[in-house]
């Protein structure tokens, strides 16, 4: 028994961190908000495809790396650390998982090899049956056709394939929506989309509860993304506190400042063990996975919020500026918190899973 990353996992983590540090410097993060944002995303994805990232969880016989959820969590963490824009969650994890759990052999043969190379990307619209419907959104399915609206779709901008959950939790594959409108959010590094369907032809996937597994996977990876983003904010705060001088001393020598840093580290470090365990359980202890995924999502949301605001405070006024760019991580953590259920919602589900709530 060993609660630690394997040598291979550590190597994957190191090479992802190295590659992403070069590939996504702050100047590039700024350009995600521009008109050329989608082009940036596509460029980054192609470079990550050289490392096999789009096919990380796709079986080797379909051209992927055949790795597990813990490796996916390490990738999410690395992406969060540099605030990278990439369709990892939808295209490399959730869509392949939907096809694996509820697709036909034919669907898998058709899509998985193309998703694995990154030649095709997939968007995922599963918000309503998980987080609840807002503004009357929700998709109904009848006779192989979808009608209605799906908000907060992930990685759907420019996607070639869409995985859509209907109001009852059934999953469907489609290529097109009647309309795909951007939903500008606080986090410019990951765009959200409102999809409208109107008698849109779609292939129904098997109705076998696959949506619950997709939800658990998404919760774990959003948690891992927050872990990476929060680590980046803590690292920046510590580095800044060691450099910045006031009253003739580096501010990091003031307990008022260094205790804030200690509190951030004390919150972050145990959360890492929780996220790792949730990811491990997803593959190796499926009975425990839903509860662990829920706790990982809700808990990283809470400590992420604390670290995002505290790391900003340690920087003082400069922390608020666009020039420093700390806000990209602040907003990324904020978006992860609300996506697919805020912590109160997720904890209520966690209580229900244990028979502690009706």
């Amino acid at each position: 028994m060993r609660f630690a990353l394997s040598e291979d996992q550590t190597m994957l983590q190191d090479s992802l961190n190295r590659t992403l540090a070069d590939l996504v410097p702050l100047e590039r993060v700024r350009r995600f908000a521009d008109d050329e944002g989608p082009q940036q995303v596509s460029d980054i994805w192609m470079r990550l495809a050289e490392m096999g990232l789009p096919g990380l969880m796709i079986p080797e016989e379909q051209g992927g790396l055949g790795l597990g959820m813990l490796e996916a969590a390490l990738a999410s963490e690395a992406l969060g650390k540099v605030a990278a824009a990439a369709p990892f969650l939808g295209s490399a994890v959730l869509a392949p998982l939907a096809l694996k759990l509820a697709g036909t052999d034919e669907q898998r043969r058709r899509w998985l090899p193309k998703l694995a190379t990154g030649a095709v990307t997939a968007g995922v619209a599963i918000s309503e049956p998980i987080a609840g419907a807002r503004d009357g959104a929700g998709v109904t399915a009848a006779d192989g056709r979808l009608t209605g609206q799906a908000l907060f779709a992930l990685n759907a901008t420019g996607a070639d394939l869409l995985v859509v959950a209907d109001k009852n939790g059934g999953l469907h594959l489609t290529h097109i929506a009647e309309a795909a409108e951007p939903m500008p959010s606080i986090d410019v590094t990951r765009r959200l989309t409102a999809l409208t369907f109107k008698d849109t032809p779609a292939e129904a996937l098997a109705s076998n509860g696959a949506l619950d597994r997709l939800r658990d996977a998404a919760w774990i990876l959003l948690a891992a993304d927050t872990l990476g983003a929060a680590q980046a904010m803590l690292d920046k705060a510590v580095a800044y506190a060691k450099e910045r001088k006031q009253f003739g001393r580096t501010i990091g020598s003031f307990q008022a400042v260094k205790h804030l840093c200690a509190e951030m580290a004390a919150e972050l470090e145990p959360a890492r063990a929780l996220v790792w365990y949730a990811a491990y359980a997803f593959d190796h202890a499926p009975d425990e996975a839903p509860l662990m995924a829920a706790h990982a999502k809700a808990h990283t949301s809470e400590i992420g919020r604390f670290i995002a605001r505290t790391a900003t405070e340690v920087h003082g006024g400069i922390g608020m500026t666009d020039l420093l760019g700390l806000h990209f991580w602040f907003k990324r953590i904020g978006q992860n918190r609300q996506l697919l259920g805020g912590p109160e919602k997720v904890r209520e589900i966690a209580a229900r899973m244990q028979g502690l709530a009706a």
Partner: protein, 388 residues
């Protein structure tokens, strides 16, 4: 990550379970019927004093964190009492093993492990809390002996203890960290007075100890004259490992869940109140985090920071678990001592108060934050004031 038990460890777990089943009649309500016999039985089977060499009365196994954890879990599952865990066993014995002379080891370790000698720790003083190295209890040379004068505070079990391990100033002219010695002496030596120190719990979990010309042979110094600060730090390392133990917190959370499922207000179970339920779920996530963090610290070489945060986070979490229990009890939560409406003999109320003491004791939360930021994050130390 591989959390499956190897066949060897799975067999080991079965052995521990079988042992506890076979000896279930020797304890009740989590306490041994004959504490010394139980301790002897545990040592003989390797469930106490496991890694202490046989020559000193231990079981003599190689250190193995996973087996230690398997033992701990099996004992919790069975509701069986662990071996004795006073400050002698948990702090003095590891220190003697590291820096004691052969004579000191053979003389003191066996009777300590068997429970025949109970120890108390003489570290903190009224003027030396977080700044422990500032301690002023002096030991003045007198022939082959020292004469010790001064006082100690926060001394648990001083009234029951036969012996004390104590920090005294033997070299008053040296800088404060270099003038301290670690010394052992019997509590019935003339010149020692113990006064109970009652805390907010209403009980005297601690004592004050006063010394007036207490005569102790120089040979009772452990680890060399003037080396007491280094010796004490080996011991404090063991103490911080004990405080914030995630196994204990997990057991408490289980009790809290049972409390919230069984207690009702106006016929509604506490657990059915969404606000209390949400607080419970927040704590459950923290308990799980600390549990997995604990597993990680045992097997992951990169877990340095994870180790440093255990005392701070673990003690805070215990206090929060007790706090939620008090709140869930509502007005019943203010009852104490005795009475028909008191729940769990007032244990939650006692924990709520005593756990605050553990946040302060063994290195305050603020000292822990210094350690985390300085050793864990490489941040600068507080500039030192010039010593007089």
């Amino acid at each position: 990550m591989d959390l499956t038990l190897t066949p060897e460890l799975a067999t080991f777990r079965e052995e521990v379970r079988a042992f506890l089943e076979a000896h279930g009649g020797e304890y009740e309500a989590g306490a041994p019927k004959d504490p010394k016999a139980w301790q002897r039985l545990l040592i003989d089977n390797g469930y106490a004093a496991r890694t202490i060499p046989r020559a000193y009365g231990g079981f003599g196994a190689a250190p193995d964190g996973l087996k230690t954890r398997i033992i701990a879990e099996a004992f919790i599952d069975a509701g069986a009492p662990r071996g004795m865990s006073g400050q002698g066993i948990s702090m003095l014995v590891p220190t003697l093993l590291e820096v004691g002379s052969e004579e000191q080891k053979t003389r003191w370790i066996p009777p300590t492990l068997s429970g025949d000698i109970i120890w108390c720790q003489g570290y903190s003083e009224p003027g030396a809390g977080s700044d422990l190295a500032n301690l002023q209890t002096k030991a003045v040379e007198d022939g082959e002996d020292f004469l010790i004068s001064g006082s100690k505070i926060w001394t648990s079990t001083a009234a029951q203890a036969q012996m004390m391990f104590c920090l005294v100033r033997t070299e008053p002219d040296k800088p404060k960290h270099e003038g301290i010695s670690y010394i052992l002496f019997p509590m019935d030596t003339p010149g020692i007075e113990v006064r109970p120190l009652k805390t907010m719990t209403g009980q005297a979990e601690f004592n004050e100890v006063f010394f007036t010309d207490v005569r102790v042979p120089k040979t009772n110094v452990v680890g060399g004259r003037g080396r007491g600060w280094q010796v004490a730090n080996t011991t404090l390392k063991h103490e911080r490992g004990m405080l914030g133990d995630p196994n204990a917190t997990e057991a408490r959370l289980k009790q809290l869940i049972e409390l919230m499922k069984s207690e009702t207000v106006d016929g509604q179970r506490i657990i059915d109140n969404p606000i209390f339920r949400d607080r419970l779920m927040q704590l459950q996530a923290r308990v799980l985090s600390m549990k997995f963090n604990g597993l990680r610290t045992m097997t992951d070489d990169t877990a340095g920071l994870a180790r440093l945060v255990v005392k701070l986070q673990g003690c805070e979490l215990n206090h929060q678990v007790a706090a939620l229990a008090i709140d869930a009890l509502g007005e019943l939560g203010i009852l104490y001592q005795d009475g028909p409406h008191l729940r769990a003999k007032g244990r939650w109320q006692w924990n709520y108060m005593f756990d605050l003491g553990l946040i302060i004791g063994g290195g305050t939360a603020q000292i822990q934050k210094n350690i985390i930021s300085e050793r864990g994050l490489g941040m600068p130390r507080e500039p030192k004031t010039v010593e007089a």
